[in-house]
């Protein structure tokens, strides 16, 4: 394989206890207190915990009820996703001042490729310092950074110095860095693989690197090959910006299982709205709409439909999802999570200014259970409407305008 002759400078940036930090920022009186953001006690889980709360053993993904037991004096706050998204946008905008090659992994994590930025901003390590300082100064948040020649090492590195850390893996230092770490730090090593490795006496990444590739392949198949590469710190994946993203999606886990199709439809409308505005913000459109449904028993199904033309319109995405929902057992079975993603993306500028004609379907009368579909709107008018909505939201925030069917006081993202 063709290795880059000059090493890359990859940064993994991870905002520390992000949701909790934003809450503390907005309510300074909470500083120094154990702040826990998450769902409610009955069935919610912890989304983020401040470092003060972590001292009590509270961590994210833990049931809120457990957290309350561990940390009864904790400040328990509900998730305010739209506020976090806003802060996230501010922080990511700072990242983009240093390089256009920003790959968002989630609301609080991103990879940056700063290869070749030396003359502008200095070495990768210096860029990381500058970004950390800028984020702290401009937002008051702290971010942990991993600096390495590839994504995999950068991600492990950022995790080691938390909070407010800066860990550098210099080119050539891969083995020194990885060898002492437990194998569990590797992507794709969970409980099962970890135990299998342990039975073979493989405890650290160094142990893994020194074991033969053949044995790993025999035990784990293709995954073994991958593990062997990782143990040597090899990872050639490029940093992909959102424009190159494979899909754009959103999903929500609900406090109460949804049983009523009407409620599901409202949630789908909200999700469609968010996905479409992200598509438009990214200047992209997608052809395939995928609906994900997780039932109360965690069994998950996905249903997809491919459109004749790429779309960034919330209404179109919503109508697809209504149809797809009928192909699931949602309603007959209670639903704990709904998600929508749009893939097969193309830049919106590539979408031809069509002949303005749309093929109608022979059997596409509304099916039983679907409300009468609204008359299709002229795509140009739809575009104008979407642009106007985007402008209102730019000015007044995400809650500035919401679809009428979405209940008041429940703005997007919460």
């Amino acid at each position: 394989m063709n290795r880059n002759p000059s090493p890359r400078g990859i940064l993994h940036l991870d905002l520390d206890a992000f949701y909790a930090s934003v809450e503390v920022l907005d309510r300074p009186e909470l500083r120094g207190m154990p702040v826990i953001v998450g769902g409610d006690e009955r069935r919610g889980v912890v989304a983020a915990a401040s470092y003060e709360a972590r001292k009590f053993g509270v961590h994210s993904a833990m049931p809120t009820a457990t957290a309350k037991r561990l940390c009864p004096k904790g400040i328990f706050l509900p998730v305010r996703m739209s506020r976090y998204a806003e802060m996230s946008d501010t922080v990511f905008a700072i990242y983009r001042r240093f390089t256009p090659l920003v790959e968002p992994l989630s609301i609080d994590e991103a990879f940056l490729d700063v290869t070749g930025c030396e003359r502008l901003f200095g070495s990768a390590e210096e860029v990381a310092r500058k970004i950390k300082a800028a984020v702290r100064e401009e937002t008051g948040l702290t971010v942990s950074a991993g600096v390495a020649p590839n994504k995999f090492l950068a991600k492990i590195a950022s995790d080691l110095g938390k909070p407010d850390g800066l860990t550098v893996v210099p080119p050539g230092g891969e083995h020194d860095f990885l060898d002492p770490l437990p194998v569990g730090k590797l992507w794709g090593v969970g409980k099962v693989t970890g135990e299998t490795l342990l039975r073979r006496g493989i405890r650290t990444i160094g142990d893994l690197r020194r074991s033969s590739r053949e044995t790993l392949v025999r035990t784990f198949g293709a995954h073994g090959e991958h593990l062997h590469e990782l143990s040597r710190g090899i990872d050639d994946r490029p940093v992909e910006t959102e424009r190159e993203a494979k899909s754009v999606g959103h999903e929500d886990t609900y406090d109460h299982d949804l049983r009523d199709r009407g409620a599901m439809r409202r949630e789908l409308l909200s999700l469609s709205d968010r996905v479409s505005s992200r598509l438009r913000r990214g200047g992209i459109r997608g052809k395939t709409v995928t609906l994900k449904v997780k039932y109360h028993d965690f069994v998950q199904v996905t249903r997809a439909v491919t459109l004749s033309d790429p779309t960034d319109d919330g209404g179109t995405i919503y109508r697809c999802c209504l149809d797809l929902l009928l192909d699931t057992e949602a309603g007959a079975r209670a639903v704990r999570l709904l998600g929508i993603s749009v893939s097969k993306l193309v830049p919106a500028s590539d979408v031809r200014k069509k002949d303005r004609m749309e093929q109608l379907g022979l059997f596409s009368r509304p099916r039983a259970g679907t409300p009468e579909l609204p008359k299709p709107v002229d795509p140009e008018k739809k575009e104008k409407l979407n642009r106007a909505m985007d402008r209102i939201r730019e000015k007044f925030g995400p809650g500035g305008i919401v679809p009428g069917a979405l209940p008041e006081g429940k703005p997007r993202g919460e």
């Binding site: 069509k354 004609m357 093929q359 109608l360 022979l362």
Partner: protein, 374 residues
């Protein structure tokens, strides 16, 4: 196993089964033809598990036996041998055969015959006889309307059913891809014996294989069906097609009854105009516009950034002026099915399905959904 066969006959038989022998398949044996010698006959079988073709030819047979040989390679060899020569095939050690003609010798690796999938049984039910030409015509009319989208499993098939019409008991074929539909009836003979109370859904590829039988010469095709297979035989060749286990949409529901506006046009002239205007229709969507007013039908197309085309056609039309968008390809396919000189378009409005059919005959109709013009 060994036998001697006429080179031209071998080429014919192997050409006939190529379409079914899969080239890229997860099961290597499916790219092979099963060659069997027994009872004075050479039997060649190809299968892709959905379709099985078997061809029987009398040959100067020596020792009986059977082996699976790569279908494409075997045909390649047969083709390069001199025309009208005698070809000798003899099994050697292992799974090799030696193929020779005159001074040319080939050694070809095969697979043991046991690896070849088992033959489906011949349906035990009644056999009905359909004129080969009728089968060919019906399938030609409807096959282009079936879906090529494999995820729309039920639309990728052709519906075969018995239709009771004024002209008697007919074999009816129906196909749709969700945007358009075609229905064709043909002389069914005793089709009731096969499709008395059932409809069968046959994959497009299977219909095409049976059509090949029909095209092999005059005569009728013998059809029978079991729960799982449609079986067709003509002369020395037999075809099994696995039926689709899916629900075909209720096509009668989309045949409109309130399309009271009619436009009558000359079939050939309409086909010509569509062909001309198609040149400037945008790629992929192939959209064209039909503007009905008075005695004229204007057909036009616009390709953004490229230009336009427009053509005129005489039409007997008495309704209000109307402009309807269509996928031009769909209209062309619909017109192809009409064999009369004059044809009728039955309309309702700009967004409802349109019926296209011959002026007099009732044995064919196509339904095309418009494209909405904004």
């Amino acid at each position: 196993m060994n036998f001697t066969v006429d080179r031209d006959l071998l080429v014919d038989v192997l050409t006939g089964i190529q379409g079914v022998a899969e080239r890229r398949h997860t099961m290597p044996v499916l790219s092979h033809a099963l060659i069997t010698i027994g009872g004075g006959n050479l039997t060649v079988v190809a299968s892709d598990l959905e379709i099985v073709v078997r061809c029987l030819q009398p040959v100067a047979a020596g020792e009986p036996g059977s082996i699976a040989l790569p279908a494409r390679k075997l045909l390649d060899i047969a083709k390069v041998l001199p025309k009208e020569s005698a070809v000798m095939v003899a099994r050697k050690e292992g799974n090799y055969v030696e193929i020779s003609s005159g001074r040319s010798h080939f050694r070809l690796a095969g697979l043991p015959s046991q690896e070849f999938p088992e033959m489906p049984e011949k349906p035990s039910g009644k056999t009905v006889s359909i004129d080969g030409d009728t089968f060919r015509k019906l399938s030609e009319r409807v096959v282009p309307f079936a879906s090529s989208d494999e995820t729309r499993y039920n639309l990728a098939g052709i519906l075969l059913e018995r239709a009771e019409t004024e002209a008697g008991s007919m074999l009816r074929m129906v196909a749709t891809d969700g945007h358009r539909l075609a229905m064709a009836d043909g002389e069914g003979g005793n089709i009731g014996e096969l499709l008395a109370s059932r409809k069968i859904l046959v994959p497009k590829k299977g219909i095409l294989e049976i059509r090949k039988l029909a095209e092999s010469g005059p005569g009728s095709i013998e059809l029978s069906a079991s729960e799982k297979f449609l079986f067709a035989a003509k002369g020395d060749t037999e075809v099994w097609v696995r039926l689709l286990d899916a629900d075909f949409p209720d096509y009668r529901q989309v045949i409109p009854k309130e399309n009271l506006l009619t436009a009558t046009v000359a079939r050939d002239a309409f086909a010509e105009v569509l062909r001309r205007v198609a040149v400037m229709a945008p790629d992929k969507v192939h959209s064209v516009k039909l503007s009905f007013s008075g005695k004229q039908l204007e057909v036009s197309s616009t390709s953004p950034d490229q230009g336009e085309a427009r053509d005129l056609l005489e039409a007997e039309y008495e309704g209000p002026a109307m402009k309807i968008g269509f996928n031009g390809r769909y209209l062309q396919d619909a017109v192809s099915g009409v064999s009369e000189e004059r044809m009728v378009l039955q309309l309702k409005d700009e967004v409802s399905q349109v019926i296209l059919r011959p002026e007099k005959e009732r044995n064919y109709l196509a339904i095309v959904m418009p494209m909405r013009i904004y």
